[in-house]
């Protein structure tokens, strides 16, 4: 059914962060609604798609869930190249993973697409008693670097859907300036109509 006034946006989203921070668990919670206590390490990267419908737009996420181990680091540019949004994930029970997250943010600021929308997610928020990275610490760092910050838990689903909805909203807001949108409008009416008929 044609939804007049509703945009269709396809967006590449990449998840980065240290190993064992829960990147795959976050994606699986979002895509399948499930959580596995023992999630195997990702090899290379995993790919998922998920569609989110907002009032203003329908967003089709192409999610690249990368492997966190150091040996895969050199592959990362392949995955964040051309990404519209990135989620840098750390584990609130590990200061090391927070330090690593900051390095990812720096790398993205240096090398990724300048219009990239960046989110910082402090995962495993259910493990309050083992917390090593304070909420304020994460929030402060995010504010300084212009990131959107959330604490999440793939296990309890806390803030997981919110995270992806926030990303979707930001993308929808940013999309009118995207060249793909303009291209469609610049085509002749007849031409674009024919394209819709065929699909």
């Amino acid at each position: 059914m044609a939804r007049t006034g509703n945009k269709n946006i396809q967006a590449k989203l990449v998840l980065l962060g240290d190993m064992g921070t829960g990147k795959t668990s976050l994606v699986l919670r979002f895509v399948t609604g499930k959580f596995l206590e023992y999630q195997e390490s990702t090899i290379g990267a995993a790919f998922f798609t998920q569609v989110l419908s907002l009032n203003e737009a329908t967003i089709k996420f192409d999610i690249w869930d990368t492997a966190g181990q150091e040996r895969y680091h050199s592959l990362a540019p392949m995955y964040y190249r051309g990404a519209a949004a990135a989620v840098v994930v750390y584990d609130i029970t590990s200061m090391e993973s927070f330090v690593r997250a900051k390095k990812w943010v720096q790398e993205l600021q240096r090398q990724a697409n300048p219009t990239l929308i960046m989110f910082l997610a402090g995962n495993k928020a259910d493990l309050e008693e083992k917390r090593k990275v304070g909420f304020e610490e994460g929030e402060q760092y995010a504010k300084e670097n212009g990131l959107v910050f959330l604490e999440t838990s793939a296990k309890t689903a806390q803030n997981v859907n919110e995270l992806f909805y926030e990303i979707a909203k930001k993308l929808a807001k940013a999309s009118p300036s995207r060249p793909t949108g303009i291209k469609l409008h610049s085509r002749s009416q007849q031409n674009s109509r024919r394209m819709f008929c065929c699909s």
């Binding site: 190993m19 064992g20 195997e40 090899i43 290379g44 990267a45 181990q69 150091e70 040996r71």
Partner: protein, 406 residues
């Protein structure tokens, strides 16, 4: 897989003689459920060389650098084993200083096997009575696995800095190594250098190779192959169902969406032609069985033809199965010591059971017989099986196929 079946397969417990053959055995799923499926129980990380339990373990594997830094240990915490690693390194360099190479040290029931690969040292300490050749091959496989994960560029890192610490780069790969080590004892493919295929191969005449690698969903992996030192190879892996996956290989890093389209088309064909459901049925049924051979009821209890088929229905417990596998492994090592491969069928009497390996030409047959079986009859049986295999050779073997002809 259930925790129960995992527990029964762990450790290298001493084997017991076979009980009398069971008249009507239950159908066992193939591959057996106690094979690892991507992951295994956690290692005993709290142990070190001072722990009694660590010392009692039947089989240890170590990877260390030529400066004595531990890289991997099957049991125990690598960091706590630094002193032990240094000792192993000292033994190797002591012998090397004398212009020689240490290969094997025997100490009572224990064998210590060494493999030196440039700056990487691999050591196995075992009291499982496996032949030296088998243990050495296992070390070679572990080294190959390590290269597959890290590529040969780690060797350069050691050349630049002998104190280079490799452990962080191997982060999260414990499972891969413990699965591999587990397969040394449990997967005939590993110790007989064979490939296990489903019975579906026989009826469909198609290549369908199935493996268990853990659940990757959809991903783009990369590997740097030994034979193509300067190239990267990307693999697109898609699980068609819980046990079956499709892997597409490319040298282009940008081919993901193209491969995805290809996969959708292939998947459609597989679904439409009901090949996928055929595979699923085969997985449930298991591989070929001895009963399916064109033989009269004969005292043949276990047969395994290298490359295509294996049956183990008379072996009821994992422990017996392991014992049989070890026997085949021994037989393989004794036949394969020369590079020529086996020249003539051999027949060995081991304690209570006969084992037979025969290689008429392009395949090998392994069979075990009841200790009371008549030797002449057993050989006759094996010859008949060989003849049958030759008759249907074109259907069951992939002749002339070269996987790397591209």
């Amino acid at each position: 897989m259930s925790s129960e079946s995992r527990a029964s397969s762990s450790g290298d417990e001493a084997s017991e003689p076979y009980p009398n053959p069971i008249p009507k055995p239950p159908r066992i799923n193939w591959p057996p459920s106690h094979w690892p499926r991507g992951y295994q129980e956690k290692r005993h990380v709290d142990e070190d060389d001072a722990s009694l339990s660590w010392r009692k373990r039947k089989k240890h594997f170590f990877i260390l650098s030529n400066s004595g830094k531990p890289i991997y240990s099957r049991h125990g915490d690598e960091h706590k084993l630094a002193g032990f690693s240094a000792t192993l390194q000292a033994i190797i360099s002591f012998v090397e200083n004398g212009g020689d190479h240490v290969k094997l040290v025997r100490a009572g029931k224990h064998q210590v096997v060494f493999l030196v690969k440039g700056p990487i040292y691999l050591v196995c300490i075992s009291c499982t009575e496996e032949p030296y050749e088998s243990l050495r091959m296992q070390l070679e496989l572990i080294y190959g696995q390590m290269l597959l994960i890290l590529t040969k560029s780690v060797i350069r890192c050691f050349e630049k800095n002998p104190k280079f610490d490799m452990t962080p780069l191997l982060g999260g790969t414990d499972i891969v190594f413990s699965s591999l080590i587990h397969s040394f004892s449990w997967n005939p493919a590993t110790f007989l250098h064979a490939v296990f295929c489903l019975a579906i191969l026989m009826c469909k005449h198609k290549v369908i190779s199935l493996n268990h690698l853990g659940h990757l969903n959809l991903s783009l992996q990369f590997a740097c192959l030994d034979t193509y030192p300067m190239a990267f190879l990307y693999a697109y892996v898609h699980y068609l169902d819980a046990d079956t996956y499709l892997m597409l290989l490319t040298t282009s890093s940008d081919a993901f969406y193209h491969l995805k389209d290809c996969r959708i088309r292939i998947e459609m064909v597989l679904l439409k032609s009901s090949v996928l459901s055929e595979i699923q049925r085969s997985m449930i049924d298991g591989g070929m069985r001895v009963e399916e051979l064109p033989l009269d009821p004969l005292p043949l209890y276990f047969g395994s033809v290298r490359v295509f088929w294996s049956s183990h229905h008379q072996i009821s417990s994992p422990r017996q199965q392991k014992r049989l596998y070890r026997a085949y492994q021994k037989l393989y090592a004794s036949c394969m010591t020369e590079e020529m491969g086996p020249t003539k069928p051999s027949f060995e009497e081991m304690k209570t059971t006969f084992y037979y390996v025969g290689s008429p030409q392009d395949f090998e047959l392994y069979a075990a017989f009841d200790p009371l079986a008549d030797k002449a009859l057993a050989i006759k049986t094996c010859n008949r099986v060989c003849q049958w295999v030759k008759d249907v050779e074109n259907e069951i073997f992939l002749l002339g196929a070269s996987p790397f002809s591209w």
